[in-house]
């Protein structure tokens, strides 16, 4: 993959087995310091936003891991920390077995690239598609010597993201492209560095409904053919179910449930995952959904004690407000951080949960 020969550009050589751990985050925590301006007669207040707390995440070659949650759940903070755009307060990131800190920033970005939410903002309006793609190729020394090799490498990138015929797109400016085409250019730009990890933060939420699946399918092909490890950050649990192999559900800065996508959506074990599923629009539902919980996410400056979901949780037990629930295995690779799944409390809740068990 690190070969600078332009021939390897068109069809990257991949000998990485599917499932190999590429990027691993352990105990990732981010606290943002905030302070308000001193108000009349009041002191300056200081606080800490507990944006992200003790998140463990592994990205595997040829697999997509989705991080699902509402706004403010910390999902973007996680992806920014993985991209080293934000420095974690604590926790470690390991890339291909080596601590991320051991890499220089450029060497790290050579392996880990990001695709952003808004392709209208992430491309420079005064530069052509060619410039957007040639620059990372040059910076990461991914194209051979000479203009010819560079042009070939740019064309190869456009072909990989299905912008063909390439001469129709290569000299266009961003405003001449549709949203979907722009996002494809943004993906090509990320691929230009020759990454093994792609971090996609809401890559389709700004796009029109009819072209969203096209982008997801393209990312899916890159996963399958080039064995990229991918992080898919989204608020749309249905698209995560469609696209991701494994899913991590975050609430108020903590992981509440994780596991294989279909297990999580078809057999949710945490009340918050259930709430997300109930709230998602679903035309196949014959009767209107009834949401078990109400309200909105808590302040992260002063997060609730114990389980952060307990003030909204319809099934909360006394312990939920006292102690953070441990990660409890509820199936193969399926983990939920909920006291209701704990051996000591299981029996107290069977009656309460019987009514809302998934159909």
């Amino acid at each position: 993959m690190t070969d600078a020969n332009p021939e390897t550009q068109a069809v990257p050589v991949v000998n990485r087995p599917r499932g190999e751990v590429v990027l691993e985050a352990k105990g990732l925590t981010k606290h943002f310091k905030v302070r308000s301006k001193p108000q009349r007669g009041q002191r300056r207040t200081r606080g800490i936003v507990h944006a992200c707390e003790d998140v463990n995440l592994t990205l595997e070659a040829g697999r997509v891991t989705a991080v699902v949650g509402e706004s403010g759940s910390g999902k973007t903070t996680v992806s920014r920390m993985l991209a080293q755009l934000t420095k974690p307060t604590s926790g470690t990131i390991t890339l291909e077995g080596k601590p991320a800190k051991g890499y220089g920033l450029r060497a790290y970005r050579h392996k880990v690239q990001m695709v952003f939410q808004d392709p209208f903002a992430s491309l420079n309006p005064v530069h052509s598609v060619r410039y957007h793609l040639a620059r990372p190729l040059k910076l990461h020394k991914r194209a051979g010597a000479g203009k010819e090799a560079l042009a070939q490498a740019v064309e190869a990138l456009l072909t990989r993201v299905k912008l063909a015929p390439t001469n129709q797109y290569i000299d266009k400016l961003p405003h001449e492209l549709s949203g979907g085409q722009r996002q494809r250019v943004a993906i090509a730009r990320a691929l230009a560095a020759g990454p093994t990890v792609l971090l996609a933060d809401e890559p389709i939420s700004m796009l029109d409904v009819s072209i969203r699946l096209g982008i997801l399918n393209l990312l899916g092909e890159l996963r399958d053919n080039e064995k990229l490890a991918m992080l898919y950050v989204t608020h749309d649990i249905a698209s995560a179910r469609y696209f991701a192999d494994t899913m991590t559900v975050m609430y108020a800065g903590r992981v509440v449930e994780s596991g294989p996508s279909l297990d999580v959506t078809d057999n949710p074990q945490h009340p918050y995952t259930r709430l997300l599923l109930d709230a998602a629009p679903d035309p196949e539902r014959e009767t209107p959904a009834t949401m078990q919980a109400r309200g909105s996410a808590p302040s992260l400056i002063d997060p609730p004690s114990g389980c952060r979901f307990h003030p909204r949780c319809p099934l909360a037990l006394p312990i939920c407000s006292e102690q953070q629930p441990p990660d409890i295995s509820v199936g193969e690779g399926h983990v939920a951080a909920c006291w209701l799944r704990h051996d000591d409390y299981k029996n107290t809740t069977t009656t309460a949960t019987a009514g809302d068990s998934p159909a």
């Binding site: 699946l213 399918n217 608020h235 009767t287």
Partner: protein, 365 residues
Amino acid sequence: MSADTTDRQPVLDIRGLCVDYGYGDAATHAVIEADLTLHRGEVVGLAGESGSGKSTIAYGATRLLRQPGVVTDGIVRFTPDAGKPDETIDILEASPQQLRAIRWSDIALVFQAAMNSLNPVMSVQAQLIDTLAAHGRGASRRERIDRAGELLELVGISQDRLKSFPHELSGGMKQRVMIALALALEPQVVIMDEPTTALDVVTQRQIMEQIMGLRDRLGFSVLFITHDLSLLLEMADTIAIMYAGRIVETAPARQLFHAPRHPYTAALLDSFPSLHGERTVMTGIPGSPPDMRKPPAGCAFADRCKFALDRCTADQPVLSSPAIKADGRRQVACWLHEENELPEPLAAPEPAVQAAGAAPEGGSK
């Protein structure tokens, strides 16, 4: 609820609405001959991609278009009182006085970005009583403040938030304040332009439930504009699908979902991954919508359509009854319906009208 909408009288009836941006030869036709009827108490959903003209219909019909938008043709009949059909007026022909009388008190709007619609330097209370005072509601300031409190309670915000400024409220609360503001004068029609798009799914559902509950209690009609077809399918009575400035299909929500008749509708339905069942590869819709500055000659969807005929690229199809007969309230603009045989995805049998989906709302008025 969808079953009895035909017996109701139309409150807003849009016929042949055409809207251009720009003038003369340089004009872009943003909405072309749109027909849309909103009955009393009905929720009509208008779905389409960005740039399809769905918001332009709403702004054109309420005369809120900004330059260079021009309504070039059409009639928008508004019947203020159910018992007096002869008091119907054409909004497009109405005098400024007539318009002023209708606006907000009869037809109110909720815009997408509530944060941009509320005045950041005025408290919620001030904005609510301003609206009430401007339309001569309430005898005194005290009465108007009481009414403002009632309105906030109506949308599920406690009265002590009256003195709050917009920046002190969450996105969901701001959107609720906007809905309270829209309902302040008890309008008959509420036009909602992507009211929940910027919100989280949980907040979105809470607000949708609230809108539907208020609709049942107060009996207003809703024109709901969104790109999220899956949301409309759950809440709307009737859905109109727009593509490139034209309405290409209208049908009751259940029928549209179970038996789409236009290839675009079918493809759009296939663009929303499901929350159940097997994971299957879905394709979305290849290509992108046409450039409205240079519209294609025939059906605008032809070059993205799997089933396009030669005729599709030459002639513009018109809205008419689909090949498979329904109860007369379905319309589709597609040449395939004049062929002998429909492609399989468009030939699903018509679902029963009063099935399980309609039952829970049966008790509502």
